[in-house]
């Protein structure tokens, strides 16, 4: 019976696709502008894998159009970003742009997309401006804004009864925005940030500031660091003897993909992010199995963001029957949709940033299982966006 059903569905899909193939054989050109080399190379690969996993599930077609990928390595270099994105928009005439990890590069992409009207889906970069002052009907984000995990953590730290907190981060956009989110959430609930410590990006000599924290003796510390800096900060914080006396909280990147390198020093750290390990939902389980089968490794938050970028694209394309020039209808369909993501269900705000649950996670071994939902259906304030 089941076999019969699948055959029927397969026949239906086949019939449908051949029919649409006849009327619209023109492939959909998807420009993937992701880092293939440099520090963020692994993140770029995860996003591409996630994206392609979804399109494969759709039979390598979206809205009846076969997909043709055009790939550019953005090297996470903002200096080359404008040239790279113009190559895709003007040179290759892509219908849709997907990218990228680095916020500076993503800003250049948003600027170019805003000018040319090409549909852009940002699968990682959390810069506020993408769905703030730069927001546009044709620009979407499948990941998060830097403000979101910070705000959720601000509420959590206040609930834990901490009154005086010190923040520490790199002095650059992502760090500033994350700390601003934390302050918004924390001070609203009655807390006070007694000092904001900064160091220049990507300096990792933390010892002077750790001594400063020891001198200030706050109730807790909030931090935003990622990659190599996150590993070193967590190890130095522990080595300075602060971990047991002054609890450390952070945006999820502190312990995402860094726990192994932290060698146990990250154990028990509480962080907030829009994805977590061991989420109890069927979609996530199916996604993890399919991803593991296809790529022989476990997916991470970046793979989820890539997968969801493809979902957003499908919803929009279905509404306009694959005609990317109908931008208003594309946007309207995406805004009305509910996305069944491995992270849980989410929608997109008017500014096109995910409205999503932010999880509180606790580092255990090499995983960050969810403890609770820190902030339900949290929307970015989208300051400066005219679409609100």
């Amino acid at each position: 019976m089941k076999l019969f059903k699948t055959t029927l569905i397969a026949a239906a899909i086949l019939g449908f696709s051949t029919a649409s193939f006849a009327e619209d054989a023109k492939p959909l050109k998807v420009g993937l502008m992701l880092p293939a080399t440099g520090t963020f190379a692994a993140l770029g690969t995860a996003i591409e894998n996630g994206f392609k996993l979804y399109t494969k599930e759709q039979g390598d077609k979206l809205a009846g159009r076969p997909i043709e990928f055009v790939k550019v390595d953005d090297e996470s270099d903002p200096a080359k970003a404008t040239d790279n994105v113009n190559k895709l928009i003007k040179g290759d005439n892509v219908d849709v742009l997907i990218g990228t990890v680095h916020s500076g590069v993503a800003m250049a992409m948003a600027k170019a997309a805003k000018e040319s009207g090409t549909i852009l889906i940002v699968p990682n970069a959390g810069a506020q401006a993408v769905t703030g002052p730069m927001c546009a009907p044709n620009i979407f984000r499948s990941s998060f804004s830097n403000w979101q995990p910070g705000y959720a953590m601000g509420e959590v730290v206040a609930q834990k009864g901490h009154k005086k907190v010190v923040t520490i981060t790199w002095k650059y956009a992502a760090g500033d925005e994350s700390v601003q989110g934390f302050k918004d959430g924390f001070t609203k609930s009655g807390g006070e940030v007694i000092k904001e410590l900064n160091l220049p990006f990507p300096n990792v000599e933390f010892q002077a500031l750790l001594t400063e924290i020891a001198a200030l003796k706050p109730d807790a510390v909030y931090t935003f660091f990622a990659g190599g800096g996150a590993v070193k900060f967590v190890k130095d914080y522990k080595a300075a003897g602060l971990k047991d006396s002054i609890p450390l909280y952070g945006a999820g990147f502190l312990t995402d993909g860094t726990l192994e390198a932290q060698g146990g020093d990250g154990e028990g750290l509480l962080t907030t992010l829009h994805y977590a390990d061991k989420l109890d939902n069927a979609k996530d389980k199916a996604f993890r199995t399919a991803y593991n089968d296809a790529y022989k490794m476990q997916p991470d938050v970046y793979a989820v963001q890539g997968y969801d970028a493809a979902q957003i694209l499908k919803v929009g394309l279905d509404a306009v029957q694959g005609d990317v020039s109908k931008k208003a209808e594309f946007a309207a369909a995406v805004e009305a949709a509910k996305f069944d993501s491995p992270r849980g269900e989410f929608t997109l705000s008017k500014a096109h940033n995910p409205v999503q649950d932010i999880y509180l996670r606790e580092a255990k071994g090499l995983e960050n299982p969810a403890v609770s939902v820190a902030s339900k259906a949290l929307a970015d304030p989208a300051k400066g966006c005219s679409l609100k």
């Binding site: 220049p200 000599e205 010892q207 002077a208 001594t211 020891a214 001198a215 190599g228 300075a240 390198a261």
Partner: protein, 293 residues
């Protein structure tokens, strides 16, 4: 800032300064004595750090582990690498202008980064300090200080003294100093200057690699780590006076203090303070604190 915190910050400054000196020492050798602008110095540091990460399990399998056996094997490999690089590339650069040196050593950076990516991947890795140095010393009522950091400082001091002794008190040091002043004259006195330079270069590479290996447990191991170190090393060498070990030592200490206290007292300007210091010193002494020859 009360006294105990002030003293801890002084300790931080000293410790950071010594670490900088350790990394910059190899650069001042190669840049100062051989006159080659070696942008790949940061890569040698990175190679050292990755050796500390990658060799530990291999050495553990072959000899049952041991922090010092990893260090010795890494040192030998670095000397061989340095010797080979001098023979294959750098020996052709002595008579060329600085632009060509910059181009070639920049090319080497790209090659080493790509090789690193192919061989070990792009992930961040942590290296555990050896068990007997893993402890901490309590400082004040909340802070502790890792013993391993003090061990690094001790190694830096020992190396500094050793280098100073070799340069000023031994025949080899005399030949090297003479060679940096007048290559042809030294050669005409019957000294194999080519071999001498090859040894100096290998020593420079080995110093950078040892710095990478020793600092790996505190700095962690990650892509692009060489680039960060390279710039601050050049600042140390330029402030200290090109080719001067004593100058590099003083400059590293100075930067250690300016950077540490700058971060605490003037956080808005922390990123530029070190460079302001460099500009001021160069205005005052255009050749750096101690100019050799």
């Amino acid at each position: 800032m009360d006294l105990s915190i002030f003293l801890i910050q002084c300790l931080n400054s000293l410790q950071y300064g010594l670490l900088l000196f350790l990394v910059a020492m190899g650069l001042t050798l190669i840049f100062g004595i051989m006159g080659v602008i070696n942008l790949a110095h940061g890569s040698f540091y990175m190679i050292g750090a990755y050796m500390a990460y990658a060799l530990s399990p291999l050495v553990a399998n072959a000899f049952g582990g041991g922090f010092f056996s990893v260090l010795v094997i890494g040192l030998v490999l670095a000397v061989i690498l340095g010797y080979f690089l001098e023979w294959a590339f750098f020996s052709f650069l002595y008579d060329r202008d600085h632009l060509q040196q910059v181009l070639m050593t920049y090319g080497l950076i790209l090659v080493f980064e790509e090789l690193r990516s192919l061989l070990v991947g792009d992930d961040v890795h942590g290296v555990q300090p050896p068990d007997f140095l893993a402890g901490v010393i309590p400082l004040g009522d909340v802070m502790t200080y890792p013993v391993y950091r003090l061990f690094i400082s001790a190694v830096c001091l020992l190396l500094a003294l050793g280098m100073y002794y070799i340069f000023t008190r031994t025949r080899l040091g005399m030949m090297i100093r003479a060679g940096s002043t007048n290559r042809e004259m030294v050669q005409s006195l019957g000294i194999d200057i080519k071999l001498l330079y090859r040894i100096v270069f290998a020593a420079g590479v080995a110093l950078a690699a040892v710095a990478g290996m020793i600092s790996a447990p505190v700095s962690t191991v990650y892509p692009g780590m060489g680039g960060q170190v390279l710039i601050i090393c050049f600042v140390v060498v330029v402030i200290g006076g090109i080719g001067s070990i004593r100058g590099a030592f003083l400059a590293a200490m100075l930067i250690g203090f300016v950077d540490t206290f700058g971060k605490v007292l003037l956080p808005e300007a922390a990123g530029v303070l070190v460079y302001v210091l460099m500009a001021l010193i160069l205005l005052w002494k255009p050749d750096g604190l101690f100019k050799t020859s």
